[in-house]
C-alpha cells in the first residue's frame, strides 16, 4: 500500500510538472475563448460588412414601407435607377444582391414578378427576411381586399399551445427532455474526451518507462500490477486536477462575463422583446416559460445524479485506461500503438452514437437500456440516460445496479488481463507487437 502511494505521488507530480501539461492547462481555456471570440466577431463582421448589402429597386413603389421599416440594416432603396443601370452598378460595387420589384397592375402581380439578382445563390438565411417582408405586405393587401380588419386577423391566428401534465398532475415542460438529453450527451462526451486524453497519458507514461529502460529496476521493487494501478490513479488525479482548474477558470470567466456584459444581457432581453413584437403578453409568457425551464433544471435530483455520474465516470475511465496501459506495455514506441487504438475508440464512438440516436428518441427504450447495461458502452450511455431521472419507467434501480455490477466485473477482468499483458510486455523490447503474441502473453 505504501509503495502504491509512492507510485501514485510520483506519477501525479511527473504529470503535473510536465511543461506540456502546464501549457495545456492554461492555454486550452485561452484558446477556447479566443476561438469563441473569433466566431462571434466573424458573425458580427458578416452582418455589417458591405458584402451583405442588398439594393432594393421597387418600381411598384408598393413595398417601400415594409423595407424601410425593416430592421435589416443592410438594405438600400434605389429608385432613381433603371433595372439595367442598377444591374451594371451592382456588379461594379460588389453589392451582394439586387431585389427588383416591377411595376404592375396589382401588388400581387408585382410580388409575382419580383426577382432577387445576386452574384452567387443566396442562403435561406439571407433570403428569408425579404420573403417575409414581401409576404407581410401581401397579407396586408389581401386582408384589405377581403375586408378583414388587422385586429380580427390577429385574433384568428392567435397561437395555441397544449399543456402537458404527468399523471400526478404536475405540469411538464415541453422541450425539457431535449434539455435533459443534451445534458446527458454533454456528460457522455466529457467522459469520452477524458478517456481519450488521460487514457493516452497513461499509455505514454508506460511507454516512457519502457523506452527509458527504468522499468526493470522498478519491477524489481514493486509488483507490475501495483505499478499499473499507481500509474492509472496518479494520471487520473492529474487529469482531475486539470479539469478542476478548467472549471475554475470557466467559472471566473463566466462571472467576469456576467459582470462585464451585464448591460449586454439586458440587451438580449430587449431584443427578445423586439422579435416578439411589443406584445407584452407574449413576452410575459416567454419569460414565464424560461423561468419554468430554469426551475425544472434546478429540480433535477442533482445529489443522486452526481453520485451515479461519479461512479460511472470513474468505472468507465478505469475500464478504458487499464486497456490503454496494456497497450502501452505491449509496444516499444508510440507509433506502434495505432493498430490498437481503433478497437478502443470504436466502442466509445459507438456509445456516443447510440446515445444520440436512441437515448434522445427513447431514453428508456430497449436499445438504450441494453447499451446502458453492456459494460463497454454502459458508462457513456448510462450517463446520457441518468438526467431523465431514476425510478419506475425511468432509469430503473435494477438497471443501475446491474450496470454497475457488470461494469465493475468487467473492470476487474480487464485489469487482470491488462496486468498479464503488462507484466510480460514491459520486459519485452524490440518485438513487433501483434494480437497473437499478446494472446500468448496472457496465456503464459
Amino acid at each position: 500500500m505504501n509503495k502504491l502511494r509512492l507510485i501514485i505521488k510520483r506519477e501525479y507530480l511527473a504529470r503535473i510538472r510536465n511543461r506540456s501539461f502546464i501549457v495545456m492547462t492554461f492555454m486550452s481555456p485561452m484558446l477556447f475563448i479566443v476561438m469563441l471570440a473569433l466566431i462571434l466577431w466573424l458573425i458580427q463582421f458578416n452582418a455589417t460588412s458591405s458584402d451583405t448589402k442588398v439594393w432594393v429597386l421597387d418600381e411598384s413603389a408598393q413595398f417601400e414601407e415594409v423595407f424601410s421599416a425593416q430592421t435589416l440594416s443592410n438594405i438600400e432603396l434605389i429608385n432613381q435607377l433603371t433595372l439595367d443601370e442598377a444591374l451594371a452598378e451592382v456588379a461594379e460595387k460588389e453589392v451582394m444582391g439586387l431585389l427588383y420589384i416591377p411595376k404592375a397592375n396589382s401588388v400581387e402581380q408585382s410580388a409575382e414578378g419580383a426577382v432577387m439578382y445576386s452574384k452567387s445563390s443566396f442562403s435561406i438565411q439571407m433570403i428569408t427576411p425579404f420573403e417575409l417582408a414581401i409576404k407581410s405586405k401581401l397579407e396586408e393587401e389581401r386582408l384589405k381586399n377581403l375586408g378583414i380588419d388587422q385586429g380580427q386577423f390577429e385574433e384568428v391566428t392567435r397561437s395555441y399551445s397544449l399543456k402537458n401534465q404527468n399523471y400526478q398532475g404536475e405540469l411538464n415542460l415541453k422541450g425539457i427532455n431535449e434539455i435533459k438529453a443534451f445534458m446527458g450527451g454533454a456528460f457522455g462526451y466529457l467522459l469520452m474526451m477524458f478517456i481519450i486524453i488521460y487514457g493516452g497519458l497513461v499509455m505514454r507514461s508506460v511507454i516512457e518507462e519502457k523506452s527509458s529502460r527504468i522499468i526493470e529496476v522498478i519491477v524489481s521493487s514493486v509488483k507490475p500490477i501495483e505499478l499499473m494501478i499507481g500509474k492509472i490513479v496518479g494520471t487520473t488525479l492529474a487529469g482531475l486536477t486539470q479539469f478542476m482548474i478548467w472549471i475554475g477558470i470557466a467559472f471566473v470567466l463566466f462571472v467576469l462575463l456576467f459582470i462585464g456584459l451585464g448591460l449586454g444581457l439586458d440587451g438580449l432581453f430587449e431584443r427578445e422583446q423586439l422579435t416578439l413584437g411589443n406584445d407584452n403578453e407574449a413576452f410575459l409568457q416567454f419569460s414565464q416559460q424560461l423561468e419554468g425551464y430554469i426551475q425544472a433544471v434546478l429540480q433535477f435530483p442533482w445529489e443522486s445524479m452526481a453520485f451515479f455520474f461519479m461512479l460511472f465516470f470513474i468505472l468507465g475511465y478505469l475500464i478504458y485506461s487499464s486497456l490503454y496501459a496494456a497497450i502501452g506495455a505491449a509496444v516499444d514506441q508510440e507509433t506502434d500503438t495505432q493498430q490498437f487504438m481503433f478497437p478502443i475508440v470504436l466502442p466509445l464512438i459507438f456509445a456516443m452514437y447510440i446515445g444520440f440516436i436512441s437515448v434522445f428518441d427513447a431514453p428508456h427504450g430497449d436499445i438504450a437500456v441494453f447499451f446502458s447495461i453492456f459494460p463497454f458502452t454502459a458508462p457513456i450511455v448510462m450517463l446520457m440516460r441518468l438526467p431523465f431521472g431514476i425510478g419506475a419507467n425511468l432509469v430503473e434501480v435494477w438497471q443501475l445496479i446491474l450496470s454497475l455490477i457488470l461494469s465493475f466485473t468487467t473492470f476487474l477482468g480487464i485489469l487482470w488481463l491488462s496486468a498479464k499483458i503488462y507484466s510480460v510486455g514491459i520486459l519485452m523490447h524490440g518485438q513487433k507487437p501483434s494480437l497473437k503474441k499478446i494472446v500468448r502473453w496472457i496465456k503464459s
Binding site: R10, R213, E216, I218, S220
Partner: protein, 310 residues
C-alpha cells in the same frame, strides 16, 4: 565455504516450450563476489529475474538468508539490470530517493545515503540536474548509486562496467570490493573475463540453461590446468647428450632449440619421473624460465563451452 546467503535448488523455468533454466542448483556464499557466466541466452537473465521476483520459477526453491525468498526480501536486494535507465525528466536526487523508498527506505535515510554517495563520488552538483543533461558515463554512475543506495544485502550487477571509461570502471570496481568487504554479497554477471578473474571468489558457468561448471575460481583453475611446465634452459655443456636425453623422455615435448644454446620445452609434470627429469636437465643446463601454466577464466569459459557443444 562461508554460509550461503542464497541457496537455489532444482530451479526450472520454461517459456512456451523453451527451457530457460533446467534443474539449476547453486549456493552463493555470504560476503563474496559470485560470477555468473555463460554465453548469451544461456539463462543468466532468467535466473537474475527470478532472484528479483520479476518472474517466478516453475519448479524449485530459492532460499534467501535461510528462508524462502518472498516479497519482503526485495528491500534487501539491489539490482543493476543490463538494460537499464532512469527517468529522463526527473531530478536525479528526487529520483534516487524515490527508488530507495520503493525499496522500503524512509525518505530521511534515503537522503542521508544520497549525500553520502554523492560526496564520495564528488558529484553533489548533480542532485538537482535531470538525467537528460548527463553523459552516458555520468548516468551510469548515478545508476550504480541507485542500486546500492538502500544498502542491500545482495547486489545483483549485470554488466556493471559497460559505459564506463577505464578510470571510472576502476572506481566502480573498488566500490564493489569495498561493499564485499563490508559484508555485501555480490552476484556479478559479465562477459568481461578479466573483471571476473580480478573480482570473483566463485563462479558458475551456465550453458544451455544448465550449470556446467561451478566452484572457487582458484580451485577451478588448478583443476583445469594441463600440468605442464613451460621451461627455457641455457645449455652449459654437452649439448648432444642433452639432446639425446630430451628425445628419450616421453614426458618432454614441444622442444625447440633456439640460438646461443637455448632450448624451450614442455614438461608434463603429471609423469611420475618428472622431478628426476627436471634434476637431470638442470645438471648440465641452467634454468632461464619455468612456468606452471594456469588457464585464465577466459580459457575455462571457452574450453567448457566447447566441451559441451555449441
Amino acid at each position: 565455504m562461508k554460509s550461503a546467503l542464497i541457496q537455489i535448488d532444482n530451479l526450472t523455468k520454461t517459456y512456451q516450450g523453451f527451457k530457460a533454466l533446467d534443474d539449476f542448483s547453486v549456493q552463493i556464499p555470504q560476503a563474496s563476489i559470485y560470477g555468473l557466466l555463460g554465453p548469451n541466452g544461456a539463462g543468466k537473465t532468467t535466473l537474475i529475474r527470478i532472484l528479483n521476483q520479476i518472474i517466478y520459477a516453475d519448479n524449485g526453491t530459492v532460499l534467501f538468508n535461510g528462508h524462502p525468498l518472498n516479497a519482503e526480501d526485495v528491500s534487501q536486494i539491489g539490482y543493476l539490470p543490463e538494460e537499464r535507465g532512469l527517468y529522463r525528466n526527473m531530478k536525479i536526487g528526487e529520483q534516487l530517493v524515490y527508488l530507495a523508498t520503493l525499496k522500503g527506505m524512509s525518505v530521511e535515510q534515503a537522503k542521508a545515503q544520497l549525500n553520502f554517495w554523492f560526496e564520495k563520488f564528488q558529484i553533489q552538483s548533480w542532485i538537482d540536474k535531470k538525467v537528460s543533461g548527463l553523459s552516458k558515463g555520468m548516468a551510469q554512475k548515478v545508476q550504480f548509486i541507485s542500486t546500492v543506495l538502500h544498502r542491500p544485502k545482495l547486489l545483483i550487477l549485470d554488466e556493471p562496467f559497460s559505459g564506463f571509461d577505464p578510470v571510472n570502471a576502476e572506481v566502480i570496481k573498488n566500490e564493489i570490493i569495498e561493499l564485499k568487504n563490508n559484508g555485501t554479497t555480490v552476484i556479478l554477471s559479465t562477459h568481461r573475463m578479466e573483471s571476473v578473474q580480478e573480482l570473483c571468489d566463485r563462479i558458475c558457468l551456465i550453458h544451455q540453461s544448465k550449470k556446467i561448471l561451478e566452484g572457487e575460481v582458484h580451485d577451478l583453475q588448478q583443476q583445469a590446468k594441463d600440468r605442464v611446465y613451460h621451461i627455457r634452459l641455457q645449455i652449459n655443456e654437452n649439448r648432444p647428450a642433452l639432446e639425446e636425453f630430451i628425445s628419450s623422455c616421453e614426458a618432454i615435448f614441444d622442444v625447440n632449440f633456439t640460438g646461443e644454446n637455448k632450448v624451450d620445452l614442455k614438461l608434463n609434470y603429471a609423469d611420475k619421473d618428472a622431478d628426476a627429469i627436471l634434476k637431470d636437465l638442470l645438471s648440465t643446463s641452467s634454468l632461464l624460465h619455468l612456468e606452471d601454466q594456469i588457464p585464465s577464466v577466459q580459457e575455462l569459459f571457452v574450453r567448457n563451452i566447447k566441451k559441451h557443444g555449441n
